[in-house]
Subunit: 313 residues, 2 copies
């Protein structure tokens, strides 16, 4: 903890692993760190697989470090049943910046319990924040509810599209459009890039969003680096502007607290039922169709004590 | 309900809408239907956006209907903030089969509460089952935990890959490989199709899975229809073989019941806290950093009564 605040990379790496794996004590460490957080801005980079998000993140990181920022990168990878963790291959492309001073990179696997990923990413981002990384890039596949939750926790969200993924772009923009701050058309040298940019423009016009005062669509080529500079500027500009919209901050805090409460209660419920023979007989009733899942769940709910909040201070 | 069992399409459509939107009474309808379910086989079709899943599903459906099956299709689409529901455009391509007798198609949006999508898809599949559709195809983007949960509920899972989505295929296969029964290399006329098939073969060899007795990789062209026939045969063959692995059936029932219990408890917790001033003061403590989210959640947990299962029969 002290090592993390003193910006020792190895102490931070240990802390992040502990937080990610929920090693006993992680919660105490997070509690102790919390007063030292709130300075970092979180940038979410999202988009379908194959869009060049990793190399774009690499480029962005390099540019931000050049500008004097300390940059933390959290890459959310689908979990692999072989490695039991994040895919190494994908990360190898990050090697350009991964050894630079002022950069800390961590891959996180998507395994684990439903909804747990979002809290995990939030906690790791917080650890990076406390360790003095003033910008945290979270790179994630933008499909799936969990992933959307993660980018919702970002201050600025860039959605990365590429030409030739017609369905992908459409599906993505629909799911994520309401939280996108900027759109990146990567691989902009490819055929169809102009069309993708035009489609996004049309969609923005349709949504009635007022974009007159700011550029929303950025063509880039993450391999050559073309277009990354103006994108970087735009992201920093947006990050500086978010400056604590108070309702947004409250709303996020409320949601996090409620999710922590829900998750812990769910854990206790599961633990309580795990050994109970009444769960097994309920399951058997469902399997044999003497009962049904909905009635079985109702009956088990009756086994728990009052769920009302205890009133009176 | 009676209309659904009598296979009246309009009655089924109404029921499905009610189940999907959780209209009051949906749970009673599901309880009443449940004894009439368990006959359908669920086929999961999954893969990254842009892989041609919709047209493949279209082709598969047509082939299955030709063989005398009644086919229900559930297409999971990312929610659109414009339509407030599933994307119409994507579905338009299904028009070939959507008016055929013996076919019922429903798009489901991914909006809604975390984890709710999976239960919703399960319930809709059950309604189709009760209405005499002996095969239910669930088509979904295979990235994201929710989507993985959905395909886990399928009896047979086909993962659709395409050439030229290097990252996509890698990310996808890693996340979903443990539940894939067959792999489809769609757009097999494209450059690189052989390489994708070879990659999948190598991955299967690496995993130590014994594939000597069955074909695992199917090249298709969902536009021309090439390769769809052997894929259809393989899916039917797998569907016939799953025939009630009893542990798998129990495990699924247990998981569903536990999730229903958890979700209802979470709902009650949220409802109980929504109006409580102690939630607001906890949130304020987090925002001002007098407190932290973890301690705030602990304090709120203390407001609830005993969470232990009431012991004794």
């Amino acid at each position: 903890m002290r090592g993390t605040l003193a910006r020792e990379p190895r102490a931070l790496a240990r802390l992040v692993s502990g937080v990610e794996n929920r090693t006993p004590g992680w919660e105490d460490a997070m509690k102790a760190l919390y007063p030292h957080t709130g300075k970092a801005r979180i940038l979410g980079i999202t988009g379908p697989p194959g869009g060049g998000k990793s190399s774009l993140t690499n480029r962005l990181t390099a540019g931000l470090v050049d500008r004097g920022h300390r940059v933390g990168v959290i890459a959310i990878d689908p979990s692999s049943p072989f490695s039991g963790g994040a895919l190494l291959g994908d990360r190898l492309r990050m090697r350009d910046v991964s050894t630079a001073p002022g950069v800390f990179i961590r891959s996180m696997a998507t395994r684990g319990s439903l909804g747990g990923l979002c809290q995990g990413a939030r906690d790791v981002a917080r650890a990076l924040d406390a360790a003095g990384y003033d910008l945290v890039l979270i790179e994630t596949v933008g499909v799936g509810q969990d992933e959307v939750e993660i980018v919702k926790a970002a201050d600025v969200v860039a959605v990365v599209c590429v030409p030739g993924q017609g369905d992908g772009v459409q599906a993505l923009k629909a799911g994520i459009m309401e939280i996108a701050d900027v759109y990146v058309v990567n691989k902009a040298d490819r055929d169809g890039a102009d069309q993708v940019a035009a489609d996004i423009g049309a969609m923005l016009a349709l949504s009635g969003e007022d974009t007159t005062d700011r550029e929303m669509v950025f063509p880039t080529n993450s391999l050559s680096g073309e277009g990354v500079e103006p994108l970087t500027e735009a992201l920093l500009d947006r990050a500086a502007r978010v400056e604590h919209a108070p309702e947004r901050v409250s709303e996020r805090a409320r949601e996090e607290v409620l999710l922590l409460v829900e998750r812990e209660i769910a854990r206790r419920v599961r633990a309580g039922l795990a050994e109970d023979p009444r769960l097994e007989s309920a399951v058997e009733g469902v399997v044999t169709r003497r009962s049904d899942p909905y009635s079985a769940a109702e009956a088990l709910l009756g086994l728990f004590g009052r769920m009302e909040v205890v009133t009176g201070e």
